[in-house]
Each structure stands twice: as C-alpha cells, then as structure tokens.
Subunit: 438 residues, 2 copies
C-alpha cells in the first residue's frame, strides 16, 4: 500500500522532533499503522537544517504554509507553528480542503477548538491534539477513551514543566523564585518572557482542554481561573514542608454540586501523594473517576521527541481511521457533539478549598485572637496553626495556618478584614490546599 502523504507546518523544536521520530522509527511505525507515513511537503519560514535528523526524507520544503494546506496530494496536515494566527486560518483551510489535522497547539485548541471541531465534523475529518496536553503522556486518549466508562469527578495535573522545575529547585535547595527562574532561563527550560509558563497561562490552555474531555462541556478558556507561582516565597516552601506538604503548580478541574471548577494555581499537596513527588520538568495528571478511582499518568510534558511521540501517535490513529465512517469516530471532545453539557464553569469565588495562610503581624497580645475571631466569623475553621518566634528585638511575627474547606468568597472577605487590621502589615499570603484523596 502507498505511504500516506503528510504535510508539515513548522520545522522548529517539535517539527524537527517529528521528522526525526518518523525517520528513525519508520519501520516500526509502519508495522503498527499498516502503512508508511511520508512527509511529502513541509513549510517553514526559518529552520536550522543541521539540527534536524531525517530532513532529507522530506519530499520538498517551502516557506508558504498555505501552499501545503492547498496541496491536493496531502491527506494529513501537521500544524506545529503554534500561536493563534495564522495557525487558525491554516487549520481551518486544511479542514475545508478535506484534510485531517494533527496539532500540538494548546493555545489554538483551548481558544478556537469549538470552531475547529465543528468545521472538522462538518467536513468529516479528524483533528488530533494529543500533543497539546502534557507532551508525550497519552492523557487525551486516556480521558477520551480509556476512562470512557467513568463519571469523572476531578483532575489535578502538573502540566507545566518550567513551573515544576522552579518549584522543585526552590524546595530542594531553599532558593528564591527569581533566582531559580534566572537559572531555568539560562538552561533553556524557561523562555526569555516566562509569563506563559510561570503565570499559568500555558497550564490553563491545557486544563481547559482536559476539563472539556472530562466533563463533556465546550471549551471555555476565558473562564479558567489562573494564578502563577511568582509570589511563592522560599519561606512558604519551608513552612509547607514543616506541615507535611509540598507546593505544586496544579491545574484542577472539578465537578462540584454547583458547577465545574477550572483553576490553575499554586497548591499545597500532602507530601506522600505521588503527585507531590513528581519533580523537575516532568508532568503528571491525576484523574479521579467514579468507577476506576484515582489513576495517574506521568511523563515528559515537553521537549522535541516526547511531543513528537504524541504527534506521531495521532498520525497513526488518523491513518488507521482513514477508511472509517466519520460519524462513528471518537468524538473530538470524547462526548458526541450534540451531547455536550451546559454545566456552568464557576467563578473562583464560588470554589471551595482549604487554605494555607501566612500572616505577618505585630508581636503583641491579642493579635492572634483578633485574626482567629475574624476567621471564625467568616465560618472558617483552623486545622493547624504555627507561630514563628520573632528574632531578638523584632517586633513582628509570622503566623502560618491551615484552614478547613471554605468558599473562596468567604476567604476573600476574611483576608480583607485581616489586612485591614493595624497590626497586620503585609498582604496575607494565601495558597490553596488540596488533599487529592476525595
């Protein structure tokens, strides 16, 4: 049988990795897919030919991505350009031309996925996006197919390697955020502009996608709450450890009685949980289904070859489904498009979690009692409290406390009232906390 002819948009890190995997594992991939896969046409504005293994196996290389999606010979388009535009236009044009699409573009899917999937369905083609979430970990397939029997209750994932590297270094070496970030940038783990990673936007893209797959809701990136790790202090990492917790930057999607939570934020996790022990640039996603219980998926969340692993897995899936009835394929979001739910995504104020609070207050009688009574008035009960002895001659003291679960709206009021006290000088540090056991 003739090899399948594929078009490739982008020859950067992941594009180069995809060429390498398709070249070095060509025989094994064909043994699995039943057909060879040939990159017939690639387009890239700029690329470094010397850094790509297997470049000579590409049919032809041009600089116009639209020429690839218009080429009638191409059956499947791999989009590895990233960003919203022109990725969106290219993908929609490829679909319009009846081509299947494989993409690693989490921003594109999180923001324009509803439109793209509708167009693909209309035209009877598949859009694969395994590579968009958690790199090489086959988490899309697990959520969409492997756990299809389950009512998913929640997902909690370490889905940004840069952030996890920074938090791991802060804990292992007692270093400051800014210090580790600078090193991560030097090592190439963090971009010159680290906002996407450390402020949680990248994680929010991925969480949005997983939330839709888990709960059968349309993609709603704009409703995902996002808080970064840049305000975590070295002392918070230490205090958390003293209490038996580690701080991880988690993406959490949860079904509550009132709606769906989609939130990315630093989180205290009990240190014995596997998720608390996922270190460095690695990713992991913990999924709680009603039948299966907790399952965890761990692996490299980024990098040329791990991401290419997911791109090529999607390619093999598409090749296997080339002859299938379009109406009986696995739906893009796991649920049939006409069976998506309109369950509301909650505002963060409507979310209930436990909290770690760090308060810096005057070391004088009655302050602690005043804070405790504010919490009590807001219906917040305290699970643990630690007061750090002030150094000699110091007049301020640090209080650390863990609370039971409470609505964020109530906690916001409590914090505002605590910060209004004369004896409290700095803003209260608040980190959400999850046991990941329920």
């Amino acid at each position: 049988m003739e090899p399948v002819k594929v078009g490739l948009l982008g020859l950067g890190t992941v594009g180069g990795g995809t060429v390498e995997v398709l070249t070095s594992n060509a025989a094994e991939i064909a043994r699995r897919a039943g057909r060879g896969i040939e990159i017939a046409f690639a387009a890239a504005r700029e690329y470094r030919p010397e850094s790509i293994n297997g470049l000579d196996r590409i049919g032809r290389i041009g600089d116009d991505a639209f020429a690839v999606v218009e080429d009638p010979e191409i059956e499947i388009v791999i989009e590895l350009i990233g960003g919203y535009s022109p990725a969106r236009e290219l993908v929609l044009k490829a679909i319009e031309n009846g081509k299947h699409v494989v993409t690693a573009n989490k921003a594109l899917i999180a923001k324009h996925g509803n439109e793209i999937f509708a167009a693909a369905r209309e035209r009877g083609v598949v859009v694969g996006f395994e590579a968009a979430v958690a790199g090489g970990i086959p988490i899309i397939k697990a959520l969409r197919e492997g756990l299809a029997a389950n009512h998913i209750e929640w997902i909690a994932g370490i889905i940004n390697g840069t952030g996890n590297f920074i938090l791991t270094e802060m804990r292992d070496k007692g270093r400051d955020f800014a210090d580790v970030l600078a090193e991560a940038q030097a090592l190439g783990y963090a971009e010159a502009d680290p906002t996407f990673d450390v402020e949680g936007i990248d994680a929010a893209h991925k969480l949005t996608i997983m939330g839709s797959l888990a709960f059968g809701i349309p993609l709603q990136f704009e409703r995902c709450f996002t808080e970064g790790i840049s305000k975590i202090g070295a002392m918070d990492v230490v205090y958390a450890a003293e209490l038996g917790y580690r701080i991880k930057h988690l993406g959490i999607a949860r079904r509550s009685e009132t709606g769906i939570e989609l939130r990315v934020h630093p989180t205290l996790v009990p240190e014995r949980r596997l998720l608390a022990n996922v270190d460095g640039v690695m990713n992991a996603v913990l999924v709680k289904g009603d039948a299966v219980g907790p399952t965890l998926y761990y692996g490299a969340g980024a990098g040329a070859l791990p991401t290419a692993s997911a791109v090529v897995a999607d390619l093999v899936d598409v090749v296997r489904s080339l002859t299938t009835d379009p109406n009986n394929r696995v739906p893009h979001l796991g649920f049939q498009p006409d069976a998506l739910a309109d369950t509301p995504v909650l505002r963060i104020e409507e979310v209930e979690t436990a909290y770690y609070l760090r308060i810096f207050a005057l070391d004088q009688p009655g302050v602690m009692a005043r804070i405790a009574s504010i919490l009590g008035e807001q219906g917040i009960s305290i699970e643990a409290i630690k007061q750090k002895e002030p150094g000699e001659g110091e007049t301020y003291v640090t209080m650390v406390m863990l609370t039971h679960r409470v609505l964020e709206g109530r906690m916001n009021e409590a914090i505002a009232r605590i910060e209004a006290l004369d004896s409290v000088q700095e803003p209260v540090m608040r980190i959400r906390m999850e046991t990941l056991s329920g």
Copy 2:
C-alpha cells in the same frame, strides 16, 4: 439509534461491577459512545442477586453461557468467567458467530491469545482485553496506541496488587511474609490458594501480554520467567532500605541486544523512583520509549469497579468501531498480524541484571576474601558491601552486597561456588536489582 445488545458471561465480582457501571453511568456512556449499551442476556451458574446493582436492567439471565454466544440478537459478548476452559470455547464460538468479544481474562489471552486473535481477524471482529492487565489503568491502550510512535525499550510494572500489598506491609511494619499473607487472606486481598498471586503467575500472564504489545511478538506465556515473593525475608526488606532501595515484585519486559526478556521477580528499586513509592494494592506500569522517555501509569489493578471501568471502555471502543473497515482497526497486538517479529525470548540465564546478595557465613578470617575472589573470577564486580556485626557469642555473620550488572548464568555459577564453601551454611539469597533509569 437502538442500543447495542450485549451478552454477559459471568456475574461474579467483575460481572457485577460491569452491570453496576453500565447502569449508574448509562447516560454519560451513551453521550460518549453515541448509542446506549444494553445487557440483553447474561449467563451465570451462581451469583448473588442482592450484591449486584442494576440486575433488573438485564434483559434475561440464564445459566447456559453457550446460549448467550449462540443468541443471534447479541452483537458483543463480555467474557468474565475467567480460566482457560470453557472460556476459550465460549470466546471462539462467539467469534465464529461474528460477535465482538470483550474479556478481562489474562490467563486466556496470555495462553490462547494468538489463536483467538487469528480467529477474530479471520471473522472480522474485535477482541478487547484492556481489563486483562492492570485493572482500570488504560495501559493496553497506552502501549498499543498512545505510544505507537516509539521503539519501546522496556517495561517494568507492579501488576499484582496482592503481592504489592504484602511487600508494602512487610516494609511499613517490619512483618514477615507469612504473617502478612495471612492478614491479606483475611482481608480478602489474597485467595485461599495464594499461588497465582504471590508466585507471580498472575503477573506473568499480564507481562506476557504487555511484552507482545511493546515489541510486536506473538504471545509466549510459557517463556516468561517467574519467581515469587515468598522467600523474601523481613531482614531483606530492612537491608534493602539501609542501602536506599525498596523491594517490589516487578514484571519486566526488556529488549536487549540478543533478544527479549520477559521476567517476573522480586526486584530492588531505588527508593526515590515513583515506582518504589507505589504502595498497597495499587498497580503501576513504567514504560520506556525511545522518543517519549519514561512514562508511568498508576491506578487500581483489581476490584469490581476498576476492572469494570476497563471492560466498559473496551465496550465503548467496540461500539464506536462497529461500522469500521475490519482491516483498518487497531490490530490486537498493536502491530499488524503479518508484521510480528520472531525475536527470541531469552532464557533467564541470558539476562543481565545487577544483584542484591545476602550470604550467611562463618565469622572467621578469610571468608569474605574467598567470596570476593569467587565473584571476581566470575567477572562480577561489587558495588557495595555491608557486613552485619554478629551478636555476642554468635559465630555466623550476615553479608549483604550489591553487584554490578552481570549475566544471570555467571551469577548462578558464582552462587553455586559460594554455597559449596564450608564456611557458608545457608543458601545464598539473591534478589535482582534494577535502576529503572536507562
């Protein structure tokens, strides 16, 4: 669209769980599959009606399993009887009658899978067996589809919950094997005859299946090396911990230069590895692919609902593929049947690993030197050695050592020579060791 009519063989633990999941999650499963799934006909010799939620949703219940596989109304047969016979005859008859099959029967697939898959291919039907390995963890799907881009290098899995529960208790509480086994039996984690679990036969069934999926070789259960955990002493658990290791009962499938290793045995694993921290009855499988690197899959490996989760996921897959071209479905072993390899499975003597050795010898000058020289003559280098001080008045001493990697055949010779020494009284305790990093 009409619901798909399914026949169910067996209403024991997993059968009951399957009925419960299909009942309680019926709406959500139909939203995913695009069609309802109806258990039209079930057969069981004996069952406890009061323990099954959703029993009233089954069309009819009889006691003749063959009547189910002969019923022309049934499109998919779920085999949850277990064992070789009559499961094999039932599955083959269902296939002959053009029905798809979903099974949780690891023994059946490991031993008769080649015959069953050939018959299914001939008849154009699918045999799903996700539930046969690691319960609710979607590891079959991960190996067969999610990692399809990879040349798989090795797999190491905790794939028997009973054994892992026993080893976890031994470590946490310093208890003996026999003691913990008795408790596991009382708790229902271990069978009255625990051989299948603690001697590694159950794990060998599962490993055989994973090895074929990873390396594209026919199922060869009879070639899988199997060693149980019943000889592990409480002291071995302690000594391993002192050296920074934990003992886990692993199934390991590995591709070496000379062939394929399939082996189940107790294994020392560095304590910082996630796999070393998988405790209690939980399962986990670590897979090393050349592109993706290491990925890990964790969850419940047994139990009514977790196993039912995998059974129903397969059902959904089959429902989705009812209209597909049989020649373009995912092949049963991940590789096209005519592309399976004849790479030999190695004998254990041909396998290379590192070792933990515990030797009980006379406390007299020269004994250690004699042992070290035997190891040296066999080309075995020692990585670490610990001599336990003998108690007052004791004349024997325990030596514990870790070796570098060496062929098992050489180690067998070395151990035979050490055991032949007059100063060595008990058989040498040997536990294989893996870093799981390469």
